[in-house]
Symmetry: C2
């Protein structure tokens, strides 16, 4: 699954593909388990083979879910993973999941070994950056209703798999407001 994903989406030589694949280790976790707790340093990047999870942090005593991960996503606490500083967020499983983990050290070694793997990650960052830019624009300049409609169009499956409370906080609105938006449509 992971190997297929790499093969299909990333233009790597056979050798680099195999070496990359060998660096991942399988992790299996249950619903409500934590992949990362606030305050810990996130030392791994994960590929999510099956399942769902969320990143959230606490603001004014409330949980703010700021991203979800699903099948075929690479996930981590980017801030902590990049800086190796303690995480401000928690990563929690929303469903029982199968993941594949690679440590930051292994990844760095791969960068030295294969220019093409570092390129791949550079390009992956470009894509992540663009997506985050879109979300940023949505967050700051679109109304709650528009954000909800956008989510409906681009990732409707989220609405079926995730409790409304998490989705409301992901959209940056209260659960009551989300409920009212839905009843209006």
């Amino acid at each position: 699954m992971l190997l297929n994903h790499i093969r299909n989406y990333y233009p790597l030589s056979e050798e680099a593909q195999a070496t990359l694949y060998d660096c991942f280790e399988q992790v299996i976790l249950n619903k409500n388990d934590y992949l990362l707790h606030e305050g810990k340093i996130c030392r791994h990047l994960y590929f999510l083979e099956k399942g769902a999870l969320r990143g959230y942090y606490i603001l004014d005593g409330k949980e703010i879910t700021h991203w979800f991960g699903f099948e075929q996503d690479f996930v981590t606490s980017f801030h902590s993973f990049i800086t190796q500083a303690p995480a401000v967020e928690n990563i929690q499983l929303l469903e029982g999941s199968i993941l594949w983990a690679i440590s930051k050290e292994k990844l760095s070694r791969l960068f030295n070994q294969y220019h093409e793997i570092e390129r791949l990650v550079r390009i992956a960052y470009e894509k992540y950056y663009i997506r985050l830019e879109e979300r940023f624009v949505n967050a700051q300049f679109k109304s709650a209703t528009e954000r909800y409609e956008g989510l409906l169009q681009t990732r409707p499956y989220i609405l079926e798999r995730i409790p409304l409370g998490h989705i409301a906080s992901y959209l940056g609105i209260s659960q009551e407001t989300l409920s009212r938006i839905r009843s209006r449509l």
Copy 2:
């Protein structure tokens, strides 16, 4: 200036530094000139030696300024530069400025030539990503007043150089609201 900046902030071999530097060309523009118009493809990355500019797009007939660039920033329309699709945003000079431009083709050639330059850009993306993540969290989960106070603390110079209307839209609030927040503090 550009060369110094590269020397000071990026760990490159002398050879790579020199080659990189040679790929930039100076651009001088006046206040209110445009570096990029909506609909055009952005083919260059710029280093801003002196001056100030903003990226904005039109939403519901209004200009939305979503970023500013100042001295020593690398700027471009990231979305268009990365995807080579027509830009949705405009980049406009807020002051007469001195810039240095490098084309996407030249940069790609440098990536092939020097692994270390591609690494540098990969790392730069990590930094940009983290900053954008912070702005995103601010936009979605902080109040207008908190966003203004944050700007005051982290980049007070913006407030002296940029008209309030642009700043309000950068903060995602109306100019009137910004004016009222300021009078309260």
